[in-house]
Symmetry: C2
Subunit: 228 residues, 2 copies
DNA sequence: GACATGCCTGGAACGCCGTTCCAAACTAGG
DNA sequence: CCTAGTTTGGAACGGCGTTCCAGGCATGTC
């Protein structure tokens, strides 16, 4: 059997697409998006760049595979509760996944309409339908939810990444304090709103804030629905 | 006067931060994010990379300057109409700017809390206050709007970029047709929602869709407001 | 005019990246 | 054992951001 069933009894430390993707995820989690390098990957797998290219076409495909691996593990959620609760569950699942793996955010934002994204979009859309939204408004509602969810998770990931580069200790409270103080120092005429909410910002919780935004959109969907 | 007032009577073709930033914007518009290179910039300005580094610290600073230049020109909008109308105006201004300069999207998404973003956030927040939203909910409402606006513009830019790489002719209709047909080909059990809205998706207008999402959030803000 | 002083230029070079190439090592079938 | 095919991994290519530095050039002083 020349081609066909490979990898049957090969040596123990043989490379495989799976081992490569796992190592890639590990590198991404540790060192961020710029930490995934074919050379670093080679070093970790104790091989050369050429060997990796035998199993993976290029870096883009590797990133896609890493995204699929992480997200398919994270989005196998439960399917219970009201439509609104299920939408919150999907949203929180994605939010937490991106929180744990910040490199996911640009990956999802830059490739809408990839398989994983479509699955999530469909799950959200199903619940929008279950909410009783009339057909013409379903696309708008589901899109708005999806855009908000991906956008919020993305900005959160960007904040986390920036925080990590500025303060390696990961002291989120200190960063909030710094930014909030900066807002209060802005001139009141030019930035009246930031002045007013600086205190709120200092004490806000990202996850709760995210959920509140989801609820805001859900409220809008319900409000614009006929016979609410 | 050695230091101090420079560039008084230097030669005609002298470099300057402004000329560099203008050339950078031009390159970004023509060739996208990956088209901005210190070598390409050198060639266009008929100089070497080293000369550019005298006026600009690094690529990140150059991108920031390009973002500021384009956005400050695009967001000097009018200040008339109801709060909701003004929010729509700010949103559309940003949407159109990103539509014209797709490289803006990742730039804004990855650097929240930069000066330009703060200005926009404040403008949105002022109108949220004008809508009569009580103080504790103002931050949530303005954040949700901002996240949606940046997220939608970003995904739109990503779509545009993908379309450009896949079909250089920029035939948006063909791309919509392709994607919509792909949705209809998906199995109905796994993707019931995508199946249902494939036709809507084929005919949707990005800009109108974007505005509908803004209105959805505005409706939610109004609905959750006491004594609406 | 000549000269010294520092701003400004631009080409060469460094280390890193993604990617390609290919000789060698290894496995399996005859 | 030999041969054919799969898999490996190190070397090399072009391009990137960035640094370095020898020199050009406008200016202030005689």
């Amino acid at each position: 059997m020349a081609t066909g069933a490979r990898h049957t009894d090969r040596r123990e430390d043989a490379l495989s697409r799976e081992r490569i993707v796992d190592a890639a995820v590990e590198l991404l989690d540790i060192a961020g998006e710029s930490g995934l390098t074919f050379r670093a990957l080679s070093a970790q797998l104790k091989t050369g760049p050429g060997a990796i290219y035998w199993h993976v076409a290029n870096k883009s495909e590797l990133l896609d595979a890493a995204t699929d691996a992480v997200l398919s593990a994270a989005t196998t959620g439960d399917h219970a509760g009201s439509p609104a609760e299920r939408i919150r569950a999907v949203a929180l699942g994605l939010f937490d996944a991106i929180d744990q793996h910040p490199w996911l955010a640009p990956q999802l934002a830059n490739n809408p309409w990839k398989s994983v994204t479509l699955q999530l979009f469909d799950r959200v859309g199903q619940q929008v339908q279950a909410l009783g939204v009339p057909s013409p408004a379903q696309f708008t509602s589901a899109s708005a939810l999806m855009i908000y969810i991906l956008g919020a998770a993305g900005q959160n990931a960007a904040n986390a990444a920036n925080a990590r580069t500025q303060q390696p200790d990961g002291d989120r409270a200190a960063l909030l304090e710094t930014e909030s103080a900066a807002w209060e120092r802005l001139d009141r005429a030019g930035y009246p709103f930031l002045h007013d909410i600086a205190a709120q910002f200092r004490e806000h919780d990202d996850r709760a804030q995210f959920l509140a935004g989801v609820d805001l959109i859900l409220a809008g969907i319900t409000a614009l629905r006929p016979q609410g």
